[in-house]
Every structure is written in C-alpha cells, then in structure tokens.
C-alpha cells in the first residue's frame, strides 16, 4: 500500500545510509542449509522489527542492521536456540518494540483482553437477539 511512499520518503530522508554498505554478516543474505531450520528462522524474522526502518520486518528490509539481525537469527537457530529464546534475547536489549508479536505483559494485556471481550459481546449479542425475543413474531 502506501508503504511504497514510505519507502521513498525513507530513502529521501536518509542519505546518511546511502554510503553504508550492505551488511557483510555471514547469514544476512544466505539461507541455512537445513530447510526446517531456515523455515523457523524465516518465521521468526518476519515478526521482528527492523529498527532503522520502523515500518518493516527484518525479513523485508535492505537496511544493514536488518541484515545483521537476520544473520544473528539464523546463526542462533543453527546453534539450536528456539525462536522464542532469540526473541527474548532481543527484547532484553531493545524492549518490546523490536517484536511485532506483543508479549503478554502488564502493559499489553488489553491487546488480548479486547478480542476476548469482543468474542463474549458477539456471543451475548447474538444470543440475546435470537433467544429472548428473536423468535417472537
């Protein structure tokens, strides 16, 4: 959608990065040999935020720091860490902002309570609409 515009605006606003070379981290642009591990890494990368671009995941960004993060994720997956361990490691350093998957905390519980409330409201609305008086014509 308008992310394209965002991308352009970003490219315009950030000549600072223009000279910066592509990430040279080993796994920035290289996949893991083990397909199952790569799939796990890919799923995780799609849920981590690129910190320089602010609107993209590290799985779809050319920013060097995204490359470094991809490499970090792949190397740690290869070393046998679970995706959630890696996510936890990054949150420890960057806070919840780095993860597109909100964790259940004192601050984020409404994110999970609201859908639950919607389910209940939807259920009761429909039930009330149709059981108490819905059949009376």
């Amino acid at each position: 959608m308008k992310r394209l515009i965002a991308l352009i605006a970003f490219a315009l606003a950030a000549p600072v990065f223009a000279q910066e070379e592509q990430s040279s981290a080993p796994y920035a642009y290289r996949q893991l040999d083990d397909a199952a591990q790569e799939a796990r890494a890919q799923d995780l990368m799609e849920t981590l935020r690129c910190l320089q671009c602010q609107g993209q995941s590290i799985a779809d960004s050319d920013a060097p720091i995204a490359g470094s993060m991809r490499s970090l994720v792949r190397e740690r997956i290869r070393a046998g860490e679970t995706p959630e361990q890696i996510r936890g490691w990054l949150i420890e350093r960057y806070g919840d902002y780095v993860s597109y998957k909100p964790q259940l905390t004192g601050l984020t519980w409404p994110l999970f309570a609201v859908p639950l409330a919607f389910v209940l409201i939807a259920f009761f609305l429909l039930r009330r609409r149709f059981t108490t008086k819905g059949n009376g014509q």
């Binding site: 959608m1 308008k2 992310r3 394209l4 515009i5 965002a6 991308l7 352009i8 605006a9 970003f10 490219a11 315009l12 606003a13 000549p15 223009a18 592509q22 040279s24 642009y29 290289r30 996949q31 890919q42 799609e46 849920t47 935020r49 671009c53 602010q54 609107g55 993209q56 995941s57 799985a59 779809d60 960004s61 050319d62 806070g95 919840d96 902002y97 780095v98 993860s99 597109y100 998957k101 909100p102 601050l107 984020t108 409404p110 994110l111 609201v114 859908p115 919607f118 389910v119 409201i121 939807a122 609305l125 429909l126 609409r129 149709f130 008086k133 819905g134 059949n135 009376g136 014509q137």
Partner: protein
C-alpha cells in the same frame, strides 16, 4: 488569471455550501419551508463550482504555471503530460480539492435525481452534506490554499520524485478518495434520516448505490495498493498490517458491513438503528484513516504529506462531525425502533452474524493500530504486527466465512437448515476433503490450512444461489453477490497458498550457474549495466525454465541507482503462470572470497504458487460490486422512467 478564477470559484462554492446548510436547516421548519426550495439548485451549483475550481487546478498543472506555489513545489516543465495532470492531486492541497470536488458533485447528483425520500429528509441530508463540505472548504481556504501565488516566479519547478511517476501511484490515492467521499454521502443520508427519524427501506435504497460505489473504489484501491507494494518493495510481501494499510482497510470493513445491513434494511425494514450507526462509523473510519496518515502520528517514516498542523485541523473536523453525529445518534436512536423481527436461521440472521464479525474485526484492527500510541502515552514502546493481527482477525473471519457458505441460500425472515442442508453437502465435503488432504501432506500452519480448506468449500457454495435459477433472468445484483463471494474464495485461496507453499531462495551465483527454486531452474546469464533517463542500473538476464523440458523464458530484474535524488531501488521481475508467479530480484555483488576471479551476484528468488489469485480475487470482488451497482441503478432508472410516463399519461388524461 486561471488560478484566481479557481480561487474565486472555490470561495463561491464554500459560500453556497454555507447557504445550503442554512437553507436546508431552516427549510425543516414550517416557517422556513420556502427556503427549502432553494436547497437542491444550490447543491447543484455548488458542485459545479467545485468542479470548476478543480479544472482550474488541473489547467495550471497542465501548463506548468510556476507562479502558482503548488505547481512550483510539485511539478516540472519536463514531465510527461499525464504526470503533470496527476501531479494536481498528488499533494495535500490538490487532494483536498479533489475531495471537496467529488463531495460537491456527489451532492449535486443526489439533489438532481434522488426523489424517493420525503423532502424533509432530503433537506436534512443535503444540509448535512453541506455541513461536512463546509469544513473541508474552510480547511482548503484557511490552511491549504491550492492557488497560492509565488513571487518571484521560479525558473523551474521542484519536480517530482521519479518513483512517484508511476501510473499506478498516480491513480491509487484518488481511487481511495472516491471511496472515502462516497461514504461521506452515505453519512449525510444517515444524518438526514436521524434528524427526521425517517429510517426505512426507502432510506436504505437511496443510500445503497453510494455505499456500493464507495465500496467498489475502496476494494480496487486496496487490491491495487497491495499489488504495488508486492512488486515494488522487492521482498515478496503483499500485506504488512502497517498503520497506513490498516487506515485503508478499516473503512472497507465498515463499508462491507454497511452494505450488508443496508440490504437487510432495504428488503426487510430491520436493523434500522444499526444501519444508521454503521453509516456514521464507515465515514468516521475514512476520516480517522486520513487523519492517521496525514498527521504522521503513528510512524515517522510516512513523511509523505505529514504535517502536525494539518493533523490538528483534520482532528478538529473529525471531532465536530463524528462527535456531533454520535451525539445526534445517542439522542435519536432510542426513538428509532429496531424494525421487523426475524429468526436466527434466516437471511437476516446470517447477515447479522456477518455484521457482528466484521465489526469485531474492525474493532481489532483499530485497537491494534492505535495501541502503540496508547503505550507511548504510558511511556513504553510496543509493536503490534502480523503475529497479532492475523490470528485475531481470523478468530472472527473464520466463523464469518462459514456463515457465508450458508447465508445466501437462506430465505428472509425464517428458514430451516433442513431445506438448504442438502445443497451444502458438497461444499462441506470439499472442506473436509481439502482439510484432511492437507493434514496428511503436513507442514502447513494453522491459518493457511483453514484458509485453503474453507476456500474450497466457499468457492463451490458461493455459486449455489444460481442453482435452479434461469440464468438469463437472474437479476444483476444476484450475479454481483455471487461474483463477489466467489472472489473472496479466490482471494482467500491465493493468500493461503502464498503463505503455505511459497519457496524462497537466496543465492550468490556466478554467470552461467543454475539454481533450483521449486519447479523452476534459474540460470544467471549475464549482469550488465543499462541506463535510463535518470538512472543507471545493473540488469541481470535470467534464463528460467519451468520443469525440465519446457521452453526457456527471459527475466530482467534490475538494481537501479537514481542520481537526482540519489537512491537505490530494486526492480523485481515477475513471471506469471496459471499456477503461480516466479519473483526475481537482483541484489548487490556478493563479497569476494579470496582467490576468486569471477564476480558472484546475489539473487533473491521466490516461487509463489497461485499468488496472483490474491489480486484477481480482489478484482472479482470489485466486479461483483459493480454488477450489483449497475443492476440497482438500472432498476432505479427504469422506475423513474415508468413514474414519469405514468405522470405524463395522467396529465394528458386530465386535460
């Protein structure tokens, strides 16, 4: 001169909008009834003047009149004409002028043709419409005058980012705008109906074409925007749940719900207050979306047309209109009765489920989009992205899709499952078979699995309403419904397939080397420099072959460097087959390993089975809307013609 003419037309139009508001409001009372007569002509002239102002803006852009500040800032004499013209609305001021123009024309059209509703309701509707327009006129004239002159006159304009010179980007924003403005007309109808308490089938029928039209444009806008993001960003993603995307999705969700509840109100005179509420909500979502994008409150990256002062202005308009409408709703809704009753197993029942689920999804998208803002006010930073939105919206989308298989088959008011049960055997079997087959194949995540299984059943179930009908006599709106629902199945299949079966390959290869991506063999033939008008690029020639013995096709992805302004972009190359799309991107040169002579190039390759169906489905949905709109409007025209004939005959007989 032309610019002054445009500005004068704009002021006049604004004054007429004021007159329209005053006359419309006074016309509601018995004493002011005589003023009411003026409202329709005033609305027509107001629309005409707004159009004149917009035409003037197009003219100054077409001839590149650099003494107009807006032109100097956004255009360049050397641009192709089509982009000069598109430049007229490719900026904040111009897009606001487009907004009021479309709104004025919509009002004029309503004033000319809409005769079904009681005159009092029409007066209130047109007054409401003038009230909304007035705010935007004020915004334009006070805070963002598009015709402002510049002195001294610059020699040349600032130009436009070369990337913005894309036909798609030129017509994408106005498409969304037409959708937003259509919803503003629906909003005016809702206000008119609330003021006069005339909420009934006639109101729904008058409002429906506007909702349909708006919904078609929103559907196309979202579909096209998603496709551009897909091919332009170069990473194969097509939906990111980004705030700006959500801002365009929310009005669509509300409009979809409104469309369906309108159907209930028109056919059965039920869900009265609810439909009014949705009319208000749908337009609120357009304005909230515009506000979120323009104010730059959510992400600093979306620097395009971002200005906190404008944000404040839009927020003030938003507070007046939506707050006012909701107060009016609170005061009046209690006196608007709920209307006819119906059983759970009925067409209305199914549509109520659709409405509740769509509203819940809307609520979640809105809440999730705003939550980072709330967290920031609390002094913390959080991100809410796909891992939240996907499952949470599926929570409500899945039951809705299940009901969608049954709903269109049910009769109004009361029905029995037993009656429709038999025709649903095949879709149910399809869902079960697809589900089990995929489960056996294994390795598919929950959501794509659900999507694939459901889309199989939905595809079949969506065409069932045509069964036992004479296809030639089937009314167009029924065709529209079938096509749109089938489009949902198609799009759902595309999305799930893309998510479940995509194959990604990142490689660094030398010229002559072959890589396998799923069923494709990709050979890097050459990498050579090419030059464009304002860029140079490295272009890779890829020779690709599907399977083993098919013919070889060429793909030419580029890695472009623009020099003014300096920036790097990847031009992806796409190859579409009936069963999917091959997506190729040329990255940079890979770091040399010691002792290596030949350069290695990074390639990003994806094989995305059935991915194009995502957007084909979207287009089908819009086409369904178009068929329904044509059907409805044709019926209205026939009715008006017939009425005129009857009146004519009566007149003749009377003599």
């Amino acid at each position: 001169m032309i610019a002054e003419l445009g500005l004068a037309a704009l002021w006049l139009a604004a004054a007429l909008a004021g007159l329209q508001l005053v006359a419309g409001s006074l016309g509601l009372s018995t004493r002011g009834a005589v003023l009411g007569e003026a409202v329709r002509p005033v609305a027509v002239v107001q629309g005409g003047l707004a159009l004149l102002a917009f035409a003037c803006l197009i003219y100054v852009f077409a001839v590149t009149d650099l003494s107009v500040k807006l032109v100097a800032l956004n255009s360049h004499s050397m641009k192709p004409l089509v982009f000069k013209i598109a430049g007229a609305w490719g900026n904040h001021e111009g897009s606001m002028l487009l907004w009021v123009t479309v709104m004025g024309l919509g009002g004029a059209f309503v004033a000319l043709v809409e005769k079904r509703l009681p005159e009092r309701t029409m007066l209130a509707t047109l007054a409401g419409q003038a009230f909304v327009s007035l705010g935007f006129y004020a915004f334009l004239l006070v805070a963002s005058n598009p015709f402002e002159r510049l002195s001294p006159v610059p020699v040349e304009g600032n130009g436009l980012n070369p990337l913005l010179q894309d036909l798609g980007l030129a017509f994408h924003p106005p498409t969304l705008y037409l959708g937003y403005v259509g919803l503003s007309i629906a909003f005016s109808f809702a206000i008119g109906a609330l003021v006069t308490r005339e909420v009934g089938p006639a109101f729904a029928k008058a409002m429906r074409p506007w909702v349909l039209g708006a919904w078609i444009f929103l559907t196309m806008g979202i579909t096209a925007g998603s496709y551009w993001a897909y091919y332009e960003l170069g990473w194969g993603g097509w939906w990111f749940w980004d705030p700006v995307e959500n801002a365009s999705l929310m009005p669509w969700l509300a409009a979809t719900a409104l469309l369906h509840s309108c159907g209930v109100l028109a056919a059965r005179n039920a869900l009265r207050a609810w439909t009014i509420m949705l009319g208000v909500v749908a337009f609120s979502m357009s304005m909230i979306g515009t506000f979120l994008v323009r104010s730059g409150i959510l992400t600093s990256v979306h620097a395009f047309a971002v200005d906190p002062q404008r944000g404040t202005f839009i927020l003030a308009l938003l507070a007046i209109y939506i707050g006012g409408a909701l107060v009016l709703f609170g005061l009046r809704a209690a006196t608007v009765t709920e209307g006819e009753r119906f059983a759970f197993v009925s067409r209305e029942g199914a549509l109520v489920v659709n409405n509740v689920m769509l509203s819940a999804i809307l609520g979640i998208v809105l809440f999730g989009t705003l939550y980072p803002l709330f967290a920031e006010a609390m002094g913390a930073k959080v991100s809410v992205g796909p891992p939240y939105f996907n499952p949470m919206s599926a929570l409500f989308a899945v039951p809705m899709l299940v009901v969608l298989m049954v709903g269109p088959l049910l009769r109004w008011r009361r029905d029995k499952f037993a009656r429709v049960g038999r025709s649903l055997v095949i879709p149910a079997m399809l869902v079960a078979t697809a589900g089990i087959a995929l489960l056996v194949a294994g390795g598919i995540a929950l959501l794509p699995w659900l999507g694939l299984a459901l889309s199989a059943g939905l595809g079949w179930a969506s065409i069932l309403p045509l069964k036992a009908r004479n296809l030639r006599r089937t009314p167009l709106p029924i065709w529209g419904m079938v096509v749109a629902h089938f489009g949902i199945a198609v799009s759902l299949f595309g999305m799930s397939s893309e998510s479940a079966f995509s194959i990604e390959k990142l490689v660094a290869v030398r010229a002559g080397e072959v890589t396998q991506v799923g069923p494709w063999g990709v050979k890097l033939d050459t990498v050579e420099p090419v030059a464009g008008p304002n860029w140079t690029a490295m272009e890779a020639r890829l020779l690709v072959r599907y399977g083993v013995d098919r013919k070889v096709t060429r793909m030419l992805p580029q890695s472009r460097s623009f020099w003014a302004p300096p920036q790097q972009t990847s031009e992806s190359a796409l190859l579409t087959r009936w069963n999917g799309q091959l997506y190729a991107v040329l990255g940079g040169e890979a770091p040399k390993v010691a002792g290596e002579k030949q350069a290695r190039w990074q390639l990003r390759l994806w094989w995305k089975p059935f991915a194009p169906l995502i957007w084909i489905g979207g287009l089908l949905i819009a086409l369904g809307g178009l068929l329904a709109l044509i059907g409805r409007v044709a019926a209205d025209v026939r009715r008006i013609v017939a009425k005129d004939k009857i009146a004519y005959r009566r007149e003749k007989q009377g003599r």
